[in-house]
Symmetry: C2
Subunit: 492 residues, 2 copies
């Protein structure tokens, strides 16, 4: 364990790796970290002191089966923790890959910090549709009202990707299977609940992912960044789309730099998403980190999106095509009522549950999961573009900082070379012309490993970072590093 | 005039610029250069000695009209020479922009070098369809059997782009007008006659250009590189396509680096083309210089194409779509006979001239100018890729050099920063794995100006280079620069 430059680092343990799944519990002052075969609990004040760990390896039988299936034993045939979500006041829901056989369980963490409880329930349940089988794949998950929403891969081969809702009192529900219009080799990166209005019946779940462009959407192969929406109270269809989402819609997120010749430079590989709350809980600002799809031209960008633009896309025309030899066009025909994507609620009236939806609505929803209009970033361009450097962005968190002249969004951007950029976007004259100012660039890990997890504690004013080789902790403001004179001023 | 590093430079004259149009006459030992308001004649042995020039400005009336039309006087309202082509043994055909009013004339150059004749005929003819109006635009032209083939812009506004055949005994002929499927804002870069077989009736003219992708061919705006074909003996249609080409076809030239994720990095902005002859006159190797379309990621590449692959694309399926909301698909229906694109000749029989073509052939040709299959480079990837440098490629010539271990193609690549790269592509084990070796990088012009013209004299073993600020001459091999010991070995 080393401490230098205000950085506290937990250098990992010999038989673990992949410190990628974080759960921040500010109330109890702990950071839970899921890694290979282990769950860790760190003290938020200082991760190098007072930490605990629970080994949770895959069973020898599962390991053997995984090995016989031709998988790499140390890299694949272990239990890589992929889900760590608060279940109730005393328990955390935890899932891992279980050597290509996903498993879930409950972690008891006690009611109060002083209880010091940290214990894994011995009962293990099937983790299919919750954790991926392959540790290289991702799960984006959220637990709310006892229900688990997870975008993940649900089979051994890594072909069946879906958005699931499991646990809770309802029958499990998922996206339509074997339909590349719904999902086309997606990689899920985030799930968030964002209220639509004051009526919780209209609450929507938004998923962020990247996937292959739909057939006919692009000449040649391409990756598109997406936002998907679901109604929290979706119970699936009655005759069609039974136990499938009836309110799923997706739209493309564009992050591109306009070209003087009319040809834009696209950053399509969405890597991470962070939501910054505003006074209006219905309208967080969405920060997305993107990289290029080319392996010749490597670059990264950060784009900001508004919920107004996102909602406008979902209320716009559906993408439609009459057959494989047609182009995708905005659907011009009559859209059935209630408009697919609308949640069953008193707000729009007429129906209590998605099971009551008219057949034509469900049929339409099934064949029109994508919106025609993409969502452009605020100001139609990235707020940060980074090219000609040997690293790419992987993660982002944003801290709201009050400076003398107003409120600033300070971005902490993790890279694939183990460094963190601290950047602030300052209006150059007007809010339509932002200037990025790099405040600091810090090396967090002793090796150039990718930063795969990032959590921000506003209470502790600390940043926590995960990689393959360990966990690091860093104060948000490191003014004292720059000497006492500077400490009074700085955003650094 | 400076001489250094074996470089001979003509530094231009004060009231001219744009030394962009070259005509090499190895027999008479002269290099003719068309520039702003002047035609120059240089001695191939040493361009700084014994050179002559003829001023050919636009008339004061044309200059005034050009100025009144709101054009920039020094940069646009002059006679920029765009065409310099051998007409017969004693005359050269020359055209210029004529202050946005194209003009052509004949330049008398004498029969033998010792005649020393260099005189412009006073008679001036209309240059529409031969030289562009706007000096920023290009003409790719070729004169054969008294007929001028020119790909250019044919109107004041720079909207009507076309491939013309003028002069000669036939009625002028051109591409279909106002049809973006035929040409979509093209920029013409080269024209070459390549025989199809031993029968001259089958001779084809190939044009190289870049243009906007056809509507529906690409998501968003994009540039595609193209090769177009025409029959030399095309006389146009009888009822339809009267005085229009009936044998015009185009295909996309792809120059891309395959990506490990299946997403290729494309270089689509074709800048220049050079044909290297082989033992078989029907099968030259085509070298193309490409740059990227992005203004964020700048890079250049060189791709090589074989005539076999090109002919296969033109004999493959036609690109077809049933309407604006359809995709472009390979045409699956019955192709009328004789297959559009075939030249009228005894080889394929049945018709003597394109005027005898059945109506359905002409109708099909009119609506199917593009081929569905693109043409991939030899080995499916560029032979040279250059990124992370502050210059882009503009021009290429290739010299065949006999080394001890065989014949090498030595490329001289001009850049937009006034430099020349001398590169050789050497097989690494097999011909499918080429290794580029940069032999030399030379600064040719004292300012970082783009190299806009390049000619290679194999007889003189010299390279001639044109830019906005002058003309330079450079020996192909500069072994002596590297000292006597090295001189015996080198490709340099």
């Amino acid at each position: 364990m080393l401490e230098s430059n205000n950085l506290v680092t937990f250098e990992g343990i010999t038989n673990s790796t992949a410190y990628h799944t974080f759960l921040l519990d500010e109330e109890k002052g702990r950071l839970l970290v899921g890694a290979k075969d282990h769950i860790f609990s760190f003290n938020l004040l200082n991760i190098s002191k007072d930490n605990a760990r629970i080994p949770w390896p895959a069973s020898p039988t599962r390991k053997d089966e995984c090995k016989w299936a031709g998988k790499d034993v140390p890299r694949e045939c272990a239990n890589f923790i992929k889900v760590l979500l608060p279940f109730n006041h005393t328990h955390v829901y935890v899932c891992g890959t279980g050597a290509f056989h996903p498993v879930c369980s409950y972690l008891e963490v006690g009611r109060k910090p002083e209880d010091g409880v940290f214990r894994l329930e011995p009962h293990v349940e099937n983790g299919r549709g919750k954790s991926p089988y392959d540790p290289k794949l991702l799960t984006a998950s959220m637990l709310i009202d006892g229900e688990l929403y997870a975008g993940t891969s649900a089979d051994f081969m890594g072909r069946d990707f879906a958005i699931f809702r499991t646990l809770g009192k309802h029958h499990p529900i998922r996206t339509e299977q074997h339909d590349s219009r719904w999902l086309n080799e997606p990689r899920f990166l985030g799930v968030h609940l964002i209220p639509e209005n004051d009526n919780p019946e209209d609450d929507k779940i938004y998923l962020f992912f990247r996937e292959n462009a739909m057939e006919g959407e692009h000449a040649g192969k391409a990756t598109y960044a997406r936002i998907g929406q679901l109604c929290k109270n979706d119970l699936g269809g009655h005759r069609s789309l039974v136990n499938k989402w009836t309110t799923f819609l997706k739209a493309r997120l564009i992050c591109s730099v306009p070209g003087s010749n009319g040809i834009d430079t696209h950053f399509d590989e969405l890597q991470d998403v962070f939501l910054v709350s505003t006074k209006d809980p219905k309208s967080p600002i969405i920060y997305g980190v993107f990289t290029t799809s080319s392996n010749i031209f490597k670059g990264s960008a950060v784009c900001m999106y508004s919920m107004t633009d996102i909602r406008r896309a979902f209320l716009g025309p559906y993408a439609h095509r009459d057959g494989p030899s047609y182009q995708w066009v905005p659907f011009q025909g009559r859209v059935p009522y209630p408009r697919p994507g609308t949640c069953p609620s008193k707000t729009f009236g007429g129906f209590d549950t998605t099971k009551d939806l008219p057949d034509e609505v469900v049929t339409f929803a099934r064949s029109h999961p994508a919106m025609f209009n993409p969502i452009y970033p605020i100001n139609n361009r990235p707020i940060i573009v980074k090219t000609d450097v040997d690293y790419q962005f992987t993660q982002i968190v944003v801290d709201k900082v009050e400076a003398e002249d107003g409120l600033y969004d300070v971005m902490f951007i993790g890279t694939d070379m183990g460094t963190i950029l601290k950047v602030v976007s300052i209006p150059r004259g007007s809010w339509h012309d932002l200037e990025e100012v790099l405040l600091e660039e810090m090396t967090v890990f002793r090796e150039p490993v990718a930063i795969k997890a990032m959590e921000l504690s506003t209470k502790q004013q600390q940043l926590y970072l995960g990689s393959d080789i360990g966990v690091s902790q860093m104060p948000l403001h490191r003014c004292e590093v720059y000497g006492k004179a500077c400490a009074e001023c700085c955003l650094a």
